[in-house]
């Protein structure tokens, strides 16, 4: 926080979006979706459906993100906004939207390239795809930590990097490594999100309906 009270008020308004653990719920949900995807790929390894699933990878990511976003908004509307108020942020400008699309595209491309390389290469003694995924997600979450100033994002980043390194060196077979990484990361994120929500609900009990209106 700065010493400027007006800047601090603006920063708090920005942080408010993350106060209820909704970021962890959406990020964790997406990770569990990815874990389910990689596990399905392991189960269908010998089947022609496996190749079809690679084609649908991006669709799964985008569709999943959309559904999770809707669920998080519903959670905010039912739990957060009635307790501590409603805010909305300016819609993204087209240059912002392009920037976001490019960032998402780059992450998807790195992940896809990693998966393709992993499937075509011999093992090196450790599963670098998992380690790289851990570092990549860790970097993204660290960025959010600096942007929001919320310490728990650094815990999330440490979890991602730690899991990436440990599961990477466990060198599990086929897609099991990625399944374990995304599954554990997703569960960890949901646990952090659940704890944040619990803390938030403890500090902000449900409002009592009164006839005294603004």
């Amino acid at each position: 926080m700065t010493t400027d009270p007006l800047q601090n008020a603006q920063k708090r308004a920005f942080q408010y979006w993350y106060v209820d653990g909704s970021f962890e719920f959406s990020f964790g949900g997406l990770c569990l979706l990815l874990a389910a995807y990689f596990y399905a790929q392991t189960l269908l390894a010998q089947s022609w459906l496996s190749n079809l699933m690679i084609v649908f990878f991006l669709l799964v990511m985008i569709g999943g993100a959309f559904v999770i976003n809707r669920l998080v908004m519903t959670m905010k509307e039912r739990i957060t906004f009635p307790r501590t108020g409603y805010i909305s942020f300016p819609r993204k400008t087209s240059s912002n939207r392009w920037g976001r699309a490019l960032l998402l595209g780059a992450v998807a491309a790195i992940l896809s390239a990693g998966i393709v390389l992993r499937l075509s290469n011999r093992p090196l003694g450790f599963d670098w795809t998992v380690t790289a995924s851990g570092l990549l997600f860790g970097a993204v979450v660290t960025y959010f930590g600096f942007r929001t100033g919320a310490a728990r994002f650094f815990v999330n980043a440490a979890l991602s990097i730690g899991l990436g390194i440990v599961i990477g060196f466990a060198n599990l077979t086929e897609s099991i490594g990625l399944t374990a990484f995304y599954g554990l990361l997703g569960l960890g994120m949901l646990a952090v999100g659940g704890f944040s929500l619990w803390m938030y609900l403890r500090q902000n009990p449900a409002p009592v309906e009164s006839s005294d209106d603004q």
């Binding site: 007006l6 906004f81 409603y86 942020f89």
Partner: protein, 102 residues
């Protein structure tokens, strides 16, 4: 009167009140915020916040929209372009004054 003192007397008196400055600062960072959020952030009573919001609305700095979300009443506040400009000028003048008096 010296020019540095004149720059302080030139500041927007409507915004040169801590609670109103905080309200406008918050609204400058978001698209819209409701009454509950602003009350929580400013720590004002409902009556005081209402008075400040009315003054800002009368000056054309904010828009207030009364609506419903389900069965709950929702008072949404948005900063107007005039309000944004006034806030930017206010901050600029304050910084200038602080720089000059260093």
């Amino acid at each position: 009167m010296t020019s540095d003192l004149r720059s302080l007397t030139d500041v927007d008196r409507l915004l040169h009140e801590p609670s109103r400055a905080v309200i406008v600062a918050i609204l400058a960072a978001v698209e819209s915020a409701d009454f509950v959020f602003l009350q929580r952030e400013t720590g004002l009573t409902k009556g005081n916040l209402s008075t400040h919001l009315t003054k800002l609305e009368e000056a054309g700095y904010i828009n207030i929209e009364k609506t419903f979300r389900g069965k709950y009443p929702l008072t949404l506040c948005r900063l107007t372009e005039t309000g944004r400009e006034a806030f930017t000028n206010y901050r600029k003048k304050l910084s200038q004054f602080v720089e000059q008096t260093k």
